[in-house]
């Protein structure tokens, strides 16, 4: 039964991905879809950051956790304000969190 779940979930998730990349251009040319496509990356990234930084607990009991990741994000903000390049921002975020966990 687990195998059936694994394989059907795999096929279904693949078809969803393929459907996304196969959206016909006449749909994408609609003004509403254009506005969604403009806002989608912003909403997506903001939500991904939030989940990356605040989510904790385990799969069955997710919860909001405030820990060294938030300090890492704050350090990333400072790096971005100082116009640091992408890789520096990433390393600063990781190093800050790692450093805080060692103390």
């Amino acid at each position: 039964m687990i195998w059936v779940a694994v394989i059907s979930c795999g096929i279904g998730c693949y078809l969803l991905k393929l459907a996304g990349l196969s959206i016909p251009s006449r749909v994408l040319e609609r003004p509403l879809v254009q506005r969604v496509a403009d806002l989608l990356p912003v909403a997506l990234l903001a939500a991904l950051i939030t989940v990356q930084v605040f989510s904790g607990g385990d799969g069955a009991h997710p919860r909001i956790v405030i820990d060294a990741r938030l300090a890492g994000l704050a350090a990333a903000v400072v790096a971005l304000l100082l116009r640091a390049p992408f890789l520096v921002v990433v390393i600063v975020a990781a190093a800050t969190a790692a450093l805080i966990r060692t103390v």
């Binding site: 694994v6 998730c13 196969s22 969604v36 806002l39």
Partner: protein
């Protein structure tokens, strides 16, 4: 660099500056390493949830979208039936389809290439390509991130499934904070208008509120719905609506 008249059909995108390519590859690999390492956690959790090593590895190979995989094993670990787990995984996979709204025209792949690339469409590959200006840049970001994570995620899943989390916690190296920092660096230049800033704040607030209430992946899916709602509210810059 030289702007030319675009013909009706563009089989190949204009070439990409080598320095720019190197920069995108480097940035994408950083995200791939930080994300791929989490396969260890998934492998360990999969096995402790009642799946065997082969099933856990098959999930990473076939499903290959983290939130759906965690949802499936989470349901099984909580005593749910495997098919309910598969349904939860599928529901969360819907957001990958939504990324296509932006990525389909940007990546502009057809036929077999599209079919192959589709498997690599996940949060991180979308994030590393969705903000690019050109098709060539988007493809480099997408493929480097997607292939990099696919290789590392599957390798790490196997290691985690066999060895458990004793192998080392990615958090010790701050890898969990690295990905948040990477996504912030991608978002930063896009916070250039009141509409975009309002969208970011609302999406983050919705995601935060849903973290304790819903399975992993749902908060991000909800953020995509937020984008849809804000787009429906009106096109005017004043119509971005900071509330309802």
């Amino acid at each position: 660099m030289t702007p030319e008249k675009t013909p009706e059909k563009t089989p190949e995108p204009p070439p990409i500056d080598p320095d720019r390519r190197r920069e995108i590859v480097r940035d994408s690999l950083a995200v791939a390493v930080a994300t791929g390492a989490y396969g260890i956690s998934f492998g360990a959790i999969g096995v402790s949830s009642g799946l065997n090593v082969a099933q856990t590895c098959a999930l990473s190979l076939l499903v290959f979208t983290g939130a759906s995989q965690f949802a499936l094993v989470g349901v099984i670990a909580a005593g749910g039936t495997p098919l309910v787990g598969a349904a939860s995984g599928l529901l969360l996979g819907v957001r990958n389809a939504l990324y296509g709204l932006r990525l389909a025209p940007l990546l502009d792949w057809r036929g077999a290439r599209r079919a192959g690339a589709a498997h690599l469409l996940i949060d991180e590959s979308a994030a590393m390509s969705v903000t690019r200006e050109t098709t060539a840049e988007a493809r480099v970001g997408f493929l480097t991130t997607g292939v990099g994570i696919f290789v590392l995620w599957n390798l790490a899943t196997l290691i985690g499934a066999i060895a458990g989390e004793s192998i080392g916690d990615p958090r010790a190296y701050g890898l969990d904070a690295a990905v948040g920092g990477a996504f912030l660096a991608l978002l930063w230049p896009r916070l250039d208008s009141p509409t975009h800033r309002a969208t970011a704040v609302i999406a983050a607030a919705v995601a935060l509120a849903l973290i304790p209430l819903t399975p992993a992946g749902t908060p991000v899916l909800a953020a995509a719905v937020v984008a849809l709602g804000l787009a429906l509210r009106g096109s005017g810059p004043g119509g971005s609506g900071a509330g309802r």
